[in-house]
């Protein structure tokens, strides 16, 4: 089976691609890979908070109004509002230091769009791993779901959980990440709700937002999943070795 693996340093992290096809040639895989990588940079130009000329940077300093922003930026703005509401404010890109920062949502959202590109090109099996947040298509082969290990929060060489999934997204947030940059919007202090939170569901942007929000809210966020029946969570408590899980992916 033709297969192409690629790693690209973009979005302030490494995005790894794993493309496999039962029907497409290696050349076709390369062509899609190139389109996906171009798309990553296009997203970076719009949303990077490190590039002063990006629309997000200009929004943050008040140089650009949201009503004048690109349609895709406006769409993310709206999706972030919904995610903020859904998580009772625990996910709040507007509370970020320096102003609106949707990075936590955009990575998963854009990975899904890249997944769509591969799907439209007829590639059956795709894994996109954007800095540990994963979007999946079609299993690793026909009838074989992807088997994704979730790193242990206290040991980056160990796997603490395994998620088996053919299609969908797996997002993990943790306080172990460099800079522990997840801030509790209600206190403006580092979030202490959980040590690690993994969310599995159909949409990468939503999964990213929920994982971040669970780091803030901890067990208080469990009730979000009562309504979000397509989403599941696996969470390591802030202290100790207790974990809890909710939803179909972990039942």
């Amino acid at each position: 089976m033709p297969r192409l693996v690629h790693a690209e340093e973009v979005w302030g992290t490494v995005v790894a691609l794993d493309l496999r096809s039962d029907s497409q040639s290696e050349e076709a895989l390369k062509s899609v890979r190139d389109d996906m990588v171009s798309y990553f940079y296009e997203i970076d130009r719009l949303f990077s908070t490190y590039k002063p000329e990006s629309e997000i940077s200009r929004l943050r300093i008040g140089e650009l109004a949201i009503s004048d922003a690109s349609p895709v930026v406006q769409e993310i703005w709206q999706l972030c509002r919904e995610a903020r509401e859904c998580t009772e404010g625990a996910f709040d890109p507007w509370a970020a230091r320096g102003g609106f920062d949707p990075s936590g949502y955009v990575k998963g959202w854009a990975a899904d769009r890249a997944l769509d590109m591969a799907c439209k090109a007829g590639i059956e099996h795709v894994q996109i791993n954007a800095g540990g947040d994963i979007s999946l298509l079609g299993g690793l082969a026909i009838g074989e779901p992807w088997s994704i290990g979730i790193r242990h929060p206290d040991d980056d060489q160990a796997i603490a959980q395994i998620v088996t999934l053919a299609d969908g997204a797996i997002a993990t947030s943790g306080t172990y990440e460099r800079g522990a940059h997840i801030v509790d919007p209600s206190t403006d202090l580092p979030a202490i709700g959980a040590r690690s939170a993994t969310v599995v569901g159909p949409d990468g942007g939503v999964a990213d937002a929920l994982a971040t929000a669970l780091i803030v809210a901890g067990r208080n966020g469990a009730h979000w999943f009562v309504e979000l029946t397509d989403y599941s969570a696996w969470v390591v408590d802030r202290h100790g070795d207790q974990t809890w899980a909710i939803g179909p992916a972990f039942s």
């Binding site: 302030g12 859904c86 540990g132 994963i134 790193r151 172990y176 990440e177 397509d230 809890w244």
Partner: protein
Amino acid sequence: MKRALFIGSGTIAGVAAVLAYAPTNFGSSPQSSPSALPGTGGSTTPVTGTTSTSTPNQTKTPAASTASKTATGRSYSACGYGNVQVRITVVNGVVTRAAAVSYPNGDPRSQFINKQAIPWLQQQTLTAKNSSKISGVGGATCTSGAWTSSLQSALTTAGL
């Protein structure tokens, strides 16, 4: 469908809060102070209510006991969908089950809620697992060292 879920999330907050905050009453969740969340207006009332009203129907016995205990919360209006009342089971200070003893009936939406409004938090101890058959690694860090390790691991094992 995703959009519909988000829009509906506010209406069920009352139902869910009853379940989600139940552990607080038994001290099994030290970080879960209801006031720590910038809750929406919709969820504030039930949260407060739960904290203060689980006492009347409580059948909690002293903490030293290892027996399973149950406690039933007060009935709350589910934002126009009817009333919800929940009974929890507590073992050694940990909520092991939350079940609705009464809930709204009638419209399909309420029936949907009924089916789902019984979250069972599966509790386990954190352990390292056998990673020999994985085809990817999630939750890798942004730090380059861990990233490289995870990436290598993902790429290598993906071929299995």
